[in-house]
Symmetry: C2
DNA sequence: GCCAGATAAGTTGTGCACAATTGAATTGTG
DNA sequence: CACAATTCAATTGTGCACAACTTATCTGGC
């Protein structure tokens, strides 16, 4: 196996390992709020647009998750009293996901979570931005190829 | 609320999304060989040291996975005829994982997989090296903090 | 207005990840 | 030597991810 192949394998493993390591950092922090990381991501999307209640599909487009993942996840968030689901009046196929008062209030409580996470990475702002941009480029490249 | 809470600017989401996107690239390629990505990672470790059969713990140390993940995964690899598990003679608590002839032979067949993956990322060698180093640094920083 | 095709969300089944627990084997200490 | 503490793999239970399928609803062409 050439060095190039080893390198390429290492990049993929590095990505896989880093993603799991970061989730490990989130776990104890989010556990205080009774949240998992994917649940936290869903709430981030909802907090960004507090006025319109997106449908399951729209949430899925943002997070690149399908209903097979989101349906049970949203059911758990609803069970926790953070979210409400209601059939759209205009289109009964759609389910709109909105925040409850409790879900809205949670936003302030998790305010310092991103800073804690950034600190745990040990990277400065410039490195974080560079890393985010590279990763976003990789993700976009992959998704663009997939659509063709 | 601060920009930090904006999903797009989150390095963590970029990492999570990139990791899943890359697994999406692996899936159809590895499916031809009847492998999942974590199973492929286990085989990579075994191919790197074809002489000694590592224990479940040693595999776990390399991949940062515990027996709760590895035990059923190894059972499936054994069911596929790629791997054998045997209790250590010296220490009956340990289970050594070795390659079968079929498992050894698979190595040549998946030879060009890493190149296909690297192409899918759309990054050149320099970018791949930089990305790998940054990710490794993040992972190491997190794991070092965890041990303290 | 009717209906074939589409779209949306949910369900089922498989395979990770990981926490917590179990049970067997080994090690360290008195 | 005895035995408590440790180590190792496996198991159990929860929660993603994702493919494949189901059911309900909607849309466009006629």
């Amino acid at each position: 196996m050439t060095d190039d192949l080893v390198l390429r394998r290492q990049v993929c493993f590095a990505l896989y390992a880093a993603s799991r390591a970061l989730t490990d950092v989130y776990r104890p922090i989010l556990e205080e709020f009774g949240l998992t990381y994917p649940q936290y991501l869903v709430l981030l999307v909802l907090w960004e647009r507090p006025d319109d209640a997106p449908t399951v599909s729209e949430l899925g487009a943002d997070l690149r998750l399908d209903s097979g993942t989101l349906s049970p996840l949203l059911k758990r968030l609803e069970g926790a009293g953070l979210v409400v689901r209601r059939r759209s009046a205009r289109d009964e196929r759609r389910v709109e996901v909105g925040l409850t008062e409790q879900g809205r209030a949670l936003r302030q409580q998790v305010d310092e979570v991103p800073m804690q996470i950034a600190r745990a990475t040990g990277l400065g702002t410039a490195d974080l931005i560079a890393l985010r941009d590279t990763l976003t480029r990789v993700t976009d490249t992959i998704h663009r190829q997939k659509e063709q």
